[in-house]
């Protein structure tokens, strides 16, 4: 097993990696990886969703355009979806969306989607480690300026 315990490469600082995981399989896979103490880089923050079908490609667009360096989506393997068809739709929508990134000037390697089942703890460690290395090799993503008057509001106040 490759040595995955290395410090994050490059600046030694964590990069902003966001993960959208389906509750039934991939979130369970991440839990299994934890139970198995499979050490991984810490950059990835995981958002739990009921299904990969719940992932609207616009979540990825918003995350990448508003400051993230990499986005990872993971759901159940096709045919294993708890809701039978969720991941089939996700597969199509995410694959189509992936083709928009280069046109926008965003490196397509900053977004990956994959299928990990609840039992594949070791495989989840592989996925997170490889994905984190991939993003570190690309370095921090270029930033777009927010709206001028929005800048001062950046104190973390959410306009709820």
């Amino acid at each position: 097993m490759s040595d995955v315990t290395r410090e994050p490469a490059g600046t030694g600082r964590e990069l902003r990696l966001v993960g959208f995981l389906c509750n039934w399989c991939s979130y369970g896979g991440a839990d299994t990886a934890g139970v198995g103490r499979f050490i991984q880089p810490t950059d990835l923050r995981i958002v739990r969703l009921p299904c990969s079908g719940r992932v609207n490609p616009l979540f990825i667009a918003k995350t990448l355009l508003y400051g993230a360096d990499g986005v990872l989506v993971s759901g159940c393997h096709p045919r294993d979806c708890h809701y039978a068809e969720g991941n089939f739709y996700a597969r199509r929508r995410l694959e189509v969306f992936r083709h928009l990134l280069p046109t926008l000037g965003i490196d397509p390697r900053r977004f990956e989607y994959t299928w990990v089942s609840a039992s594949e703890g070791q495989r989840w460690q592989q996925v997170v480690s490889k994905f984190t290395e991939q993003i570190h090799s690309l370095g921090p993503a270029p930033r777009l300026p927010g709206a001028p008057e929005l800048e001062w509001m950046q104190s973390g106040v959410n306009p709820a």
């Binding site: 964590e14 990886a33 810490t42 923050r45 079908g53």
Partner: protein, 653 residues
């Protein structure tokens, strides 16, 4: 909003590599957080009490617990906050054990990550709304489709549990494939002796309404409130008057009608009662074969019917019933073996299917229980059984093993020896599959005690030579091609999904696999449930299986129905989609993608709007991700709640 944050040590599991004090400290600075602490074992009794007290003391509106995976303790903590008077959905968890402390060695990075995960949970909680489970009335009645052994078992169990049962059977009599069998393995006891009494129980049970010779026309509604239209097909005999005396069957002039029950072995009359132990024991006219329907004047049966039950003008009739649950037990069909040109493709009379041979063995069969060669009526001395016909054969799209053919062939080999002591049976096989209790011993007996000659090898061709049938195959154990001259060839034909299973599946809105077998909820954990709430499966319609398994699935499905309908009100999980009718423009994209048919179009003052059936919605959120204007939102996982978690991370930059 007043939020309380509880950071768990989990003994040392978290505290060892996460500075829990620092995280609790940081939580104070988060939006709407009015109380933040850490505790050794939050999920323990004292830990939960601490939360309850904090809720009351600090008048909290919501709680965030940072500890292990929500897949483990979310239900626990939801009950905790509920006991303290909060709605259970005003609660969020941050997974700082499996996703942080156990997988990261750098304490500083772990602590930073834990803090950010807590911030995400807080930001989501700020947008959570109170959700209460809905109560929907349930009709305590169950529809069982298919009167085979599985359907009979399910009906009897449900009826015995006090539920009203509606049993619908497509053929004129219940009994399914089992009623066509002479004996059953592995005990070689007579099929109608063990099935007959069950069929009589169904007929006599006061809580079971039987619709034989009927089919499902349409199913609407949802769990607890299905509305089913049953089409009672015209049998041209008034079953109220018919006593089943059979006078009409003796006098009917058209004697060449294809006998469906006896698999076309013998012929029968246009008006017939399928078999002596039929339930209901009523006559049915096969319209295609009856002269009256071919324009020729007949009416012989009407003349001889003592109770005047014959009525050639009878029409199909639709009966509507309301049920709370449905059990599909529609069984299977034999594979169409005539695709095999090498076995004669149906051209040779002495090459028959195992089910035809079963009818030949049966005393109530067309040959009265005597084994005879269909070509010349003589008693066969050499009988060859060919295994795996239409099973384990990807070239015709049947790659699976049907599971029961090895066993019934062993039984038929034993029966053949009983009927014709000086006969010689050969069985061409690839592998013998006899996994059940007493199964392998049974096939062993067929070989050792009853002298069946098992030849390991495939048959390449069956062809007539003189009046014999030559079976050419291989014997892989000897490594030689072999030829056997047979008087009779019995094909152990495998099974496939019944031809119109997909049509029924679409009516029930359940999914089916590539072969047409209904899809179970989970292959290991939910074998008799489907992804459609309220619809259950039993028997071979879910996958080919023998009688013991079909019966146990019948009982299993009945148990699931009893659990569902045990209370007269169903409680539905409130994490379902909700439509904002202002924003909905009625493009019905959501209706198209919903895997469960849980969204339907409603006409609101002339405008089409989407409407979610809470009872049917499983909360996958596909509709939410599909709706361009975000008019449909999945409660507890709305766009804003997810965006709140994302923005909680990004605003740090």
């Amino acid at each position: 909003m007043r939020i309380g944050v509880f950071i768990c040590h989990c003994g040392s599991n978290i505290a060892a590599t996460v500075d829990v004090k620092k995280v609790a400290e940081a939580a104070w600075g988060m939006n709407d957080v009015v109380y933040s602490t850490d505790s050794m074992y939050t999920c323990s009794e004292p830990g939960q009490q601490a939360i309850e007290e904090a809720i009351r003391e600090h008048k909290l509106h919501g709680v965030v617990v940072a500890s292990c995976s929500p897949r483990m303790h979310e239900p626990t903590f939801r009950r905790t906050v509920e006991r303290a008077g909060l709605n259970r959905y005003m609660f969020e968890m941050a997974n700082i054990r499996e996703h942080v402390s156990w997988i990261g060695r750098d304490k500083a990075l772990n602590t930073l990550k834990a803090t950010e995960l807590v911030r995400m949970a807080v930001e989501k909680l700020r947008l959570n709304r109170v959700l209460t489970p809905k109560k929907i009335p349930a009709t305590r009645k169950v529809l069982v489709i298919g009167g085979g052994v599985a359907g009979i078992q399910a009906s009897l169990d449900c009826a015995d549990a006090g539920l009203e049962v509606v049993l619908v059977e497509r053929e004129p009599s219940i009994g399914g494939k089992m009623s066509k069998l002479d004996k059953t393995f592995p005990t070689v006891d007579c099929s109608s002796c063990i099935l007959g009494p069950r069929m009589v129980d169904v007929a006599q049970h006061e809580r079971i309404t039987l619709y034989a010779y009927s089919e499902i026309d349409s199913v609407s509604g949802y769990v607890g409130n299905f509305e089913v239209n049953i089409r009672k097909k015209a049998s041209y005999v008034d079953w109220e008057k018919c006593t089943g005396c059979g006078a009409c069957t003796e006098k009917c002039p058209s004697r060449k009608t294809f006998d469906r029950f006896n698999e076309g072995l013998g012929a029968t009359t246009a008006i017939n009662i399928p078999f002596p132990q039929a339930i209901p024991k009523k006559a049915t006219i096969t319209a295609g074969a009856c002269r009256q329907f071919q324009g020729k004047k007949c009416g012989v049966c009407a003349k001889f019917c003592p109770t005047g039950a014959i009525n050639h003008e009878q029409k199909d009739e639709i009966v509507t019933v309301k049920v709370g649950a449905i059990v599909a037990a529609t069984g299977y069909d034999l594979t169409d073996w005539t695709v095999y040109g090498e076995y004669g493709a149906g051209r040779y009379p002495d090459v028959i299917t195992s089910l035809q041979y079963e009818r030949m063995l049966s005393a109530s069969g067309p040959y009265g229980g005597h084994i005879k060669r269909p070509s010349n009526g003589e008693e066969p001395k050499s009988i060859v059984f060919i295994q795996c016909v239409g099973s384990r054969d990807p070239s015709i799209g049947r790659p699976y093993c049907s599971g029961f053919c090895c066993m019934y062939t062993a039984k038929q080999a034993i029966m053949t020896k009983d009927h014709i002591p000086d006969s010689r049976s050969y069985v061409f096989y690839m592998d013998i599959r006899s996994p059940g209790k007493g199964y392998d011993e049974f096939t062993r007996r067929a070989q050792e005690e009853y002298g069946a000659q098992y030849v390991r090898g495939r048959v390449s061709q069956v062809y007539p030579r003189g009046d014999k049938m030559v079976v050419r195959g291989a014997d892989t154990l000897l490594g030689l091609p072999v030829e056997v001259e047979a008087d009779l060839v019995v094909l152990a034909v495998g099974g496939e999904a019944s031809r119109d299973a997909p049509k029924l599946a679409e009516k029930l809105r359940i999914s089916y696999d590539g072969f047409g077998f209904f899809m179970e909820g989970h292959p290991k954990l939910k074998p008799v449930e489907t992804n459609t709430a309220g619809v259950f499966l039993a028997g071979s319609c879910q996958g080919l299986k023998d009688i013991p398994s079909s019966v146990s699935q019948g009982s299993a499905a009945a148990a699931k129905v009893m659990a569902l309908l045990s209370r007269d009100m169903l409680e539905s999980d409130p994490q379902t989609a909700l439509v904002d009718i202002k924003r909905c423009i009625g493009c019905s994209k959501c209706v198209k993608v919903c895997p469960f048919g849980a969204i339907r179009e409603q006409d609101l003052r002339g405008q089409i709007k989407a409407e979610v059936l809470e009872a049917v919605c499983q909360g996958c959120g596909l509709c939410n991700a599909t709706c361009p204007q975000g008019a449909i939102q999945l409660s507890h996982a709305t766009d804003n709640q997810i965006l709140a978690e994302v923005e909680a991370l990004l605003c740090q930059m």
